[in-house]
Symmetry: C2
Subunit: 385 residues, 2 copies
């Protein structure tokens, strides 16, 4: 195990009927809120009405920023920062999934930065402060509700880039699994693929000896494999939704990467698909990951991929390569079974764009389980095409 | 899954050569420290010299409270509070294992309480504030370095009682596995039994549906089973010590009990042994737990005990009762293999004391996986006798 520092002060309020706790948590920080949400599904489900009623009843003033898309754009962040400054906002409240949370976090950091918030993503400016962020989560996927990360798209530069800062950890997040009952099957599946991909990025590590962390990773993977088909078939199955929701948070709150180098190559590649084609992040990952696994399978990695196959998929083969290949096939089968199927071509990706995406993905060092160069990335993209 | 709130802001600094971080962490809070430690083993290992050198080099003034015993006594707590008040102390630094940490935490809370600190343990006073606590950990066992708990002995009343308060969560803890290389085999084993018992108390729950948490519990148990024999055989095996150390923290930092009722009956019974006979906590637990498992095995609990046997011990039996019994036997075998062997009688416990201990343990509601009354506790104690 490598040295590490683990510190995550986010307060998670988990379960049914927790909205009465929203206003008291907000008022620890401010009574002036920027309410950030997406395309309006929270109005259909009634969550918007519940949240705004709770704010009004508790004399919390709010300004709205709606229409945050999946793959949130830097323009929306800029608009949010402007609203915060004009309205003397003291807390940014995200009501939605990972895109809404990431947008809210970036607004919160941009508030304290005089320049353009895209500077954070080109690494020409560092996040040194942020408004407090609160979350009411509606999707089990990104883990953003309890971590340092925010990922934002820039249409001008056709980039999707993530940043991390301890200032971005939300102060509190309300996780009511009931708020995910209305998530449709394809988004439920994409969310689960996102959770599993986060685990893969931390599980498949060049380091050995982090046995405890590997077993914890397998626990989260098994949970996704067990409950995703149930949640798709029975959208209001509380047990399934609750396990997936908490799994999504634990998958990326820092715990699973303690003591390890992490990989993140699949994310580096997928971000190009989301940036150029606005592809759903979890779908893009599901289409890429089995090909990434196949591509990185070699003498150095076979043992670990076989361990995955044996511990997560109960594969019995003695030979590491055989077991690893079987595990990869079962991973592909699983993604297909939950509806994450097809090729990049099916999703409208053009063959001509693959070299550019490969170049962008490999512009910075990519991968640690196996380091990937431009040609490696192109090979993986072509395999998935 | 039941509703829960999870919030744990402790900063964990894990790994080799981290003592340079000690003084900066302390000085975030104060430059006047009460240095709490045990019987002097840290002087033999040189850790005392390293810690005090780091304090002196960074102009941190310190007052010492040494001699904290295993099963820390309320008298030591009282002495520590007096030292804090006389010396205008701003942070309590525990250098040791769980007993030292629990003593430091109780001193930190008692500092702000005008009455006697035992009042916290009779529940006649609540902890409403505490001095900041820092930890340099030397034993993988209690998990106290990242949690709300403190357990203290009172020789006058022959009681060992725990309290919990968010004010008791240490601000930081330095976990260097190298500092556990010198822990002798019997303490290494007792520490592992303590960690495993913490998991058992959360794993064996009357609630179903917390699949994710069950798998996470199994991960920690498997880690203890895998590495304890290695750490006993090769005391300076870093990988084994590191995995056990982080397992001990994760076992009781609140994560594994999210969404579940917990049991804590075995602890309730063992505390009587530690209170009356000053028994090593982990040893007492190892002697009791297989008997507790056998005693609580019934139609309601067989499924869960069989799940434990299958997932942790790879037991293959189809029948739940058969599988459960096999898992219990493997648990007993494991404790014996790491040297935690014998009966309560072997440890100097008298047959006459069993009814009194049973009465004390069952004075408050005991158990949740299976509720236990006085006669139940007596039966378990007699089985272990």
């Amino acid at each position: 195990m490598l040295n590490f520092v683990f510190e995550n002060p986010a307060k998670i309020i988990f379960g049914k009927d927790q909205l009465s706790r929203l206003a008291p948590e907000i008022k620890k920080h401010s009574d002036r809120v920027l309410l950030v949400y997406g395309g309006g599904s929270i109005k259909k489900t009634g969550l918007y009405q519940q949240v705004t009623a709770a704010l009004k009843e508790n004399a919390v003033t709010y300004v709205e920023l709606s229409g945050v898309p999946a793959n949130p754009r830097i323009e929306t962040v800029r608009a949010g920062i402007k609203l915060c400054r004009e309205n003397d906002i003291g807390l940014v409240l995200a009501v939605g999934g990972g895109s809404v949370v990431d947008c809210a976090k970036t607004i919160a950091a941009g508030y304290y930065y005089a320049g353009d918030p895209w500077d954070f993503f080109t690494y020409s400016a560092r996040i040194t402060n942020a408004l407090p962020v609160g979350v009411v989560l509606t999707l089990a996927a990104s883990g953003s509700e309890m971590n340092v990360n925010a990922v934002i798209n820039n249409d001008q530069t056709q980039e999707k880039i993530g940043v991390g800062s301890r200032h971005l950890i939300p102060r509190f997040a309300i996780l009511d699994p009931v708020n995910t009952f209305t998530v449709p099957p394809e988004q439920t599946a994409a969310g689960a693929a996102d959770i599993m991909s986060h685990v893969f990025e931390q599980y498949f590590s060049a380091n050995s000896g982090a046995y405890l962390l590997d077993r914890l990773c397998e626990a989260v993977l098994q949970t996704c494999i067990h409950y995703t088909p149930i949640a798709i078939k029975e959208p209001d199955n509380y047990e399934a939704r609750a396990n997936l929701m908490w799994a999504g948070t634990i998958a990326l709150n820092g715990l699973l990467s303690t003591g390890k180098e992490t990989d993140w190559a699949a994310h580096g590649i997928e971000h190009q698909l989301s940036a150029m084609y606005d592809m759903t992040h979890g779908l893009g990952l599901a289409l890429l990951i089995p090909h990434w696994m196949e591509y990185v399978l070699n003498e150095n990695t076979a043992g670990k991929l076989a361990e995955y196959a044996r511990n997560v998929w109960s594969v019995k083969d003695d030979d590491d390569f055989t077991a690893a290949r079987r595990g990869i096939q079962l991973t592909r089968d699983f993604f297909q079974a939950i509806g994450l199927t097809g090729t990049l071509k099916d999703q409208g990706v053009t063959a001509e764009s693959l070299p550019l995406m490969a170049e962008k993905a490999a512009a910075r060092p990519l991968g640690s389980f196996k380091k990937l160069d431009v040609q490696d990335v192109l090979n993986i993209l072509q395999a998935a095409y």
